[in-house]
Amino acid sequence: MAFEQVEVTVDELKHLVSNQALEGETMLLNMGPQHPSTHGVLRLLLELDGERVVNCIPDIGYLHTGIEKNMEAKTYLQALVMTDRTDYLNTVGNNLVYCLAIEKLVELDVPPRALAIRVILTELTRIASHLVWLATHALDLAAMSVFLYCFRERELILDILEICSGQRMMTSYIRPGGLWRDVPAEFEPAVRQFLRLFPARIQQYERLLTKNPLFIDRTRKIAVISGEDAIGWGLSGPSLRASGVDWDLRKAVPYGGYDQYEFEVPLGAHGDVYDRYIVRMEEMRQSLRIVQQALDRLPAGPVRSDNRKFVPPPRSELAHSMEALIHHFKLWTEGFPAPKGAVYVAAESPRGELGCYLEGDGGPRPYRVYFRTPSFAHLQALPILAKGHLVADLVAIIGSLDIVLGDADR
């Protein structure tokens, strides 16, 4: 098994474990960084009393990529490709929050068609991310077939992203001031096909899990957290809403045109693993509603701002406009300057609050980019949630928080 004996000395971690551990009454066990149920390269140091978790000390950073530092060395537009790779299940959402921050910093307007397409793609990515969550969460709890069903539907969403951008995952499709290009003609039928298909598929998953006694036994009353504690420990998104706190950034601080759509914010009552499951399943339905509304009301028009100081002109203009050529050359070699100042934009990622703190210094490169990532915040609540539960429950708890290590470590 991938559980290994710890080799490091515990001196440095003495203040984090109980006194029994030092006397050898409880066992210290290393879990990860290579472990099938830690959803990536998360390492946990567990103090165990038999099967019970006395203390759990997460050790992250095994996927630290230096994205924030690397973005400072690139222009605003070049740095966009880095954002995809932070939270690799929510690629479009990362692009969105970074572009929203740039647009706020330089005061750039986005045409309504681009806003609507952004919403459609972000919500589809949310569904895709929830599907990966459901697949792995169920797999951890030994429900193998859910994995195969979820990935079947996920391919449909990835196909839609590929139709638009040419890439399945790392789309970089949302750009400052709009989109890379307009969606092709195949886009709308593909999304409509998905909308027709998917509600029945959600029911399929629910038939497999929602009333499954094995699943209920493994998830009910596990890792209960009250709304107040959840806020204190920085939980956000579905993990917070499962504790009954009505807070969805799409409604609370509407961004990117979300205020035009009608949807509900599903809430849980108990704040346990099962409620987090129920909330996410319901969220997929609400995302479908948003996509449906956005697609039905998809306005015609341009998809990129015509502010040539920040958005490159279409290539068709280059042949007969000297000015367009200059703008094109300037934007692709130097980039655009952004004023001195700092903005913070928060968006609702599938996991929770994804914030982008962007500071400009008047030059073409971001002076400081910081991503407030939900997985980082959720992981630090893991010791509180895991305390007193069995090792086997720990797997369910990690799954229910829906962590992505690329998101936590950046």
Partner: protein
């Protein structure tokens, strides 16, 4: 491990046996369940319904390095992770192969900075590089088939 030590120098007989063993090795090559970053999601896609790697005898992902033949390094390797990766590789029994999946594992990709190892070949020997950021599941399957072709050409004495 095992058969090649016993049969490594049997001369004429081994030419046929070699083919048979190499054939069987390509048909049940168990990858280690080891995902690092974005590419791991595509590796999961390759395992799942649409792409179905079990067609190549690879449906069994082994979470333990001691039971696996193939390490698919799926994602960027940070400097904190590199020693762990090497240790996992050392724990795998011979014969073993490594696929560097994606640009980050092959050469560092877009992350040319302090935190990321510029290519996993600085840490472990790599047999096949798969390009893409992340590579499509088809590309991974192509990489695996390339590895199979390579394995079919191997000599038993190479592992003895």
């Amino acid at each position: 491990m095992g058969v090649e030590q016993k049969l490594g120098n049997l001369g004429v007989l081994t030419t046929k046996l070699e083919e048979a063993i190499n054939w069987s090795r390509t048909r049940a090559m168990w990858p280690m369940l080891f995902g690092l970053a974005c590419c791991a999601i595509e590796m999961m896609s390759a395992q799942a319904s649409d792409y179905d790697m079990s067609r190549f005898g690879m449906e069994l992902m082994r979470p333990s390095p001691r039971q696996s033949d193939l390490m698919i390094v799926a994602g960027r390797v940070s400097r904190k992770m590199a020693p762990v990766l090497r240790r996992l590789y050392d724990q795998m029994p011979d014969p073993k192969w490594v696929i560097a999946m994606g640009d980050c594992a092959s050469c560092g990709g877009v992350f040319n900075n302090y935190a990321i190892v510029q290519g996993v070949d600085e840490v472990v020997p790599v047999d096949v590089y798969v390009a893409g950021c992340p590579p499509r599941p088809e590309a991974l399957i192509h990489g695996i088939l390339t590895l199979h072709a390579k394995v079919r050409g191997e000599k038993l004495a190479d592992w003895a």
